[in-house]
Amino acid sequence: MADLLIEGLARRFGPVAAVDDLSLHVADGEFVTLLGPSGCGKSTTLAAVAGLDQPDAGRIVVGGKTYFDGARGIYLPPEARGCGLVFQSYALWPHMTVFDNVAFPLTLRRVRAAERRRRVEEVLALVEMEAFAGRHPHMLSGGQQQRVALARTLVYQPSILLLDEPLSNLDAKLRDRARSWLAALRLRLGLTTLYVTHDQIEALSLSDRVVVMNRGRIAQLGTPRAIYEAPAEAFVADFIGTTNFLPARVLAEAAGEARLALEDGQQVSVAVPRPPGAGRAVTLAARPEQLRLAEPGEASDAHGTVVTARLRGSAYIGGRWQLGLELGGSTLRVETTTLPDDAGGDLRLWLPRDGLLLFPAAA
């Protein structure tokens, strides 16, 4: 096992910078997820670590072994790296049985037949697939194929485990099961893991740390909680979870508090660590679960602000309602357990003073 160091990684495809000066350190045994929309550079980064794609510049070192160093002209071919990679497509060889698939990496390493058989059986037991050793991949379900792919990777004890959207080909129910299974397995094995996904739930639930990527750069690097609760920029807040954005202007700022005017003139107070100066255009970000409808008679106080919004639509989403509200020219999404009866009329909405985020207004 080993740590992973990426420094100044860059990869261009024509005019597009797929990965742009990316640096990252994954500690020994740590599970780090690259999260982002398609085209953000996460898969390119993974391919660079695996050796399937040669970057233009930067350095990749795993456990002291230099995989790639643009400045020194070092580029190890994938077979010399000893990484484990689970493909999104699983890439099980259709002409080999499950056993032969898993045994192949050991054959390459000239492991003797008896030892090979023992280790293949051991790892198939680990992924609970020992009963399927004689089958061919096309006879397995998606979830089973995924386990075999993982077993084939674990069997040679890779220095680092790379997972490329391994759950994305499974249907929703199976994906949940596979995710908890993967989380349990990861705790048992403690492998240094780089995980690529566009699914925030996978990222948040599995990872020690999450790297949110946007346009080839790291938008934010932090623990799942930090990423969710304190997104560093509007992109992260927007990408992780659901976030309502309201354009506003700073009227006044005092120690740890800013007083904002929304587009329609209603005022909101929020507590922020470093409030921007008065007169600045900002974007106020609020998660649906932070907002609620005000109780009858409730007024603005030290804990929150009550504003008036207009109900534009509602949708039943199972157990609760999602309301579409218009506030200051923007649309907000809020969830409630009861449906207000006066559809089309005005509603009173409560915004907390703490926990909301301010970002500089998009140019």
Partner: protein, 570 residues
């Protein structure tokens, strides 16, 4: 899990490079070897194998001053252009009819339509001659009942008719690979948007077929340019000369061949074909490089022919009978008779004499045996070569893989006769390597060079369908490029390799033009023997030999389909 896993041996990086560079150079050598000597010979005052090489441009002047050369060029262009148009017209119609309508029995009819692909153009020409030639069976029948026949195949239109119908299957295949015929949903969308069947055909199907048709036109024009059989069988008796028959006469049938003239003429043809292919890639990009056919099973709503169904079936069957089946059948029948004429009762002329003569002459049995060896062994070696080229071009990080691809596809532009001529020159320049010059293996070498593109066409589509993840997975797990290719890519490619081997076997077995400059006493092949027997006027023995060729090819195709379930075309 236990420790003790070592990295797989790491010294293999050089192995991949050695294979890639080695094969790249080999292919370059194979393709360039025949071409450069032709260029060289075209600039020499004397024959290449004579002593004292003097460089000159005189050959070009002499070629242009050859009496009737303008006529030859004109004939060649008219022949090739109209042959191409006729082939395309029939091919496109057949493609639409067999893949887009509810024509009864269209699958079987479509397969019968492809039969000429399996038979050498030379043999088909013999068939046409035996049936519709001046003393052909149908001609004689017509004369005895209806008077003078209205056709004469010993004319330029007659040659165009035979060549056009022979090449129609190729145009059909290219048309089938067009977007419109590969993806029925494009038409479905037009129908759902409210377009009628004919409007859909006119506004959607045909425009989508245009790129494939343009590609097909260029390829068929190239093939018509290099066609030797039809001009030789039908043009020569009427003194209608095209470039190929001109080269054949100046280079082969005279006692003292003028190689300066031959090489210059060959060079001219090469330049024209290269120009055409360049133009075609410029116009279309390289997207239609291969005939790729996805046999889509679901064709939800074919055009309905309604009351035209049965008349069209009758028309198609009449066409297939007259243009494909009858010429072959009559040639086979001719093989089993001493004389074939509608005036003589068949029972009186039935005999096995032709075959008996064949067996008596070691030259002919030797030719069959040589062809079998070249096709079976040469075809296997060529298949291996093609597989490796495909793996390098599509599945490696080889720096020059794009160049390798280009070089490997270049023989498309080299007519068989010219490839053979080039190898003949190349081996005349080289010291005789252990008798290779006079052995059958020089012929196998020329065939290999010539049919690399055909082999790639059989392998590449399948290779492109195999997910790169599969070999990349092996790479990440510690297999070098060669191990991943050998253990993962090639085994997955097996059906395509079987198809490739069969295509190459048939191509080698039926070729007649590549070997004409290369064979010598003892290294005759089927094609050259057929040509020689034909010029000697041995119609019965020609028919017997052609029958043997047809039977062997049919057995080969049948066996491959039965054992592997591989369809070669379509």
């Amino acid at each position: 899990m236990s420790a003790g896993t070592t990295d797989p041996a790491g010294g293999f990086a050089h192995r991949a490079l050695a294979i890639q560079y080695g094969l790249g150079l080999l292919v370059l050598l194979l393709v360039a070897a025949p071409l450069l000597p032709i260029l060289y010979q075209s600039l020499l005052a004397t024959s290449l194998y004579d002593a004292g090489h003097v460089l000159t441009l005189g050959n070009f002047r002499r070629l242009l001053a050859t009496p009737g050369f303008g006529r030859i060029v004109w004939n060649t262009l008219v022949f090739a252009a109209l042959t191409t148009l006729l082939a395309q017209l029939i091919g496109s119609l057949a493609a639409i009819l067999f893949s887009r309508t509810d024509l009864p029995g269209r699958r079987l009819l479509g397969e019968l339509f492809l039969v000429p692909l399996y038979v050498s153009a030379l043999v088909l020409s013999f068939g046409w001659y035996t049936l519709y030639g001046p003393s052909g069976y149908v001609t004689a029948l017509w004369q005895s009942t209806l008077g003078e026949p209205f056709w004469d195949l010993y004319t330029l239109p007659g040659m165009i008719l035979v060549a056009g119908l022979t090449q129609a299957p190729l145009a059909y295949l290219y048309s089938m690979s067009s977007a419109a015929l590969a993806d029925p949903t494009l038409e479905e969308a037009a129908r759902i948007a409210g377009a009628g069947a004919l409007r859909t055909l006119w506004r959607v199907t045909l425009p989508l077929m245009m790129p494939a048709i343009a590609y097909s036109l260029v390829m068929n024009f190239t093939i018509a340019l290099e066609l030797l059989s039809v001009p030789l069988v039908f043009g020569d008796p009427a003194r209608i000369t095209v470039m190929t028959t001109f080269l054949y006469k100046v280079g082969i049938t005279t006692t003292n061949p003028d190689h300066g003239l031959v090489a210059t003429g060959a060079l001219l043809m090469l330049l024209v074909i290269c120009g055409l292919i360049w133009l075609q890639t410029r116009l279309l990009g390289s997207t239609r490089r291969f005939v790729t056919l996805g046999g889509k099973a679901a064709r939800p709503r074919p055009f309905r022919l309604l009351r035209w169904r049965w008349p069209l079936v009758a028309l198609v069957m009449a066409y297939l009978l007259a243009a494909v089946l009858a010429p072959i059948a009559v040639l086979v029948l001719r093989a089993f008779t001493s004389f074939l004429s509608p005036m003589v009762p068949l029972a009186e002329v039935l005999s096995l004499d032709n075959f008996a003569t064949l067996i008596d002459y070691p030259v002919y049995t030797g030719a069959i045996w040589n062809s079998l060896q070249i096709s079976a062994i040469g075809g296997a070696v060529a298949t291996l070569l093609v597989a490796l080229i495909a793996a390098i071009v599509h599945r490696s990080a080889f720096r020059y893989r794009a160049a390798l691809h280009y070089v490997a596809l270049f023989p498309r532009a080299v007519p068989g006769m010219i490839a053979g001529l080039g190898f003949f020159y190349a081996f005349a320049l080289l010291p005789d390597l252990g008798g290779l010059r006079n052995s059958i293996w020089i012929i196998a070498l020329a065939f290999t060079m010539r049919f690399i593109p055909a082999g790639l066409g059989a392998v590449a589509p399948t290779l492109l369908q195999i997910s790169p993840d599969l070999d990349q997975a092996a790479r990440v797990q510690g297999a070098d490029w060669w191990t991943a290719t050998r253990r993962i890519v090639l085994p997955l490619l097996r059906p395509a390799l079987v198809a490739c081997y069969t295509v190459l076997f048939i191509s080698f077995f039926k070729d007649y033009s590549t070997a004409i400059f290369l064979f010598s006493a003892g290294s005759e092949v089927l094609g050259t023997s057929l040509m020689n027997l034909w010029t000697e006027g041995q119609a019965g023995i020609v028919a017997a030999l052609a029958t043997i060729q047809i039977v062997i090819i049919a057995a080969c195709v049948g066996a491959v389909r039965a054992v592997f379930g591989v369809k070669l075309y379509g």
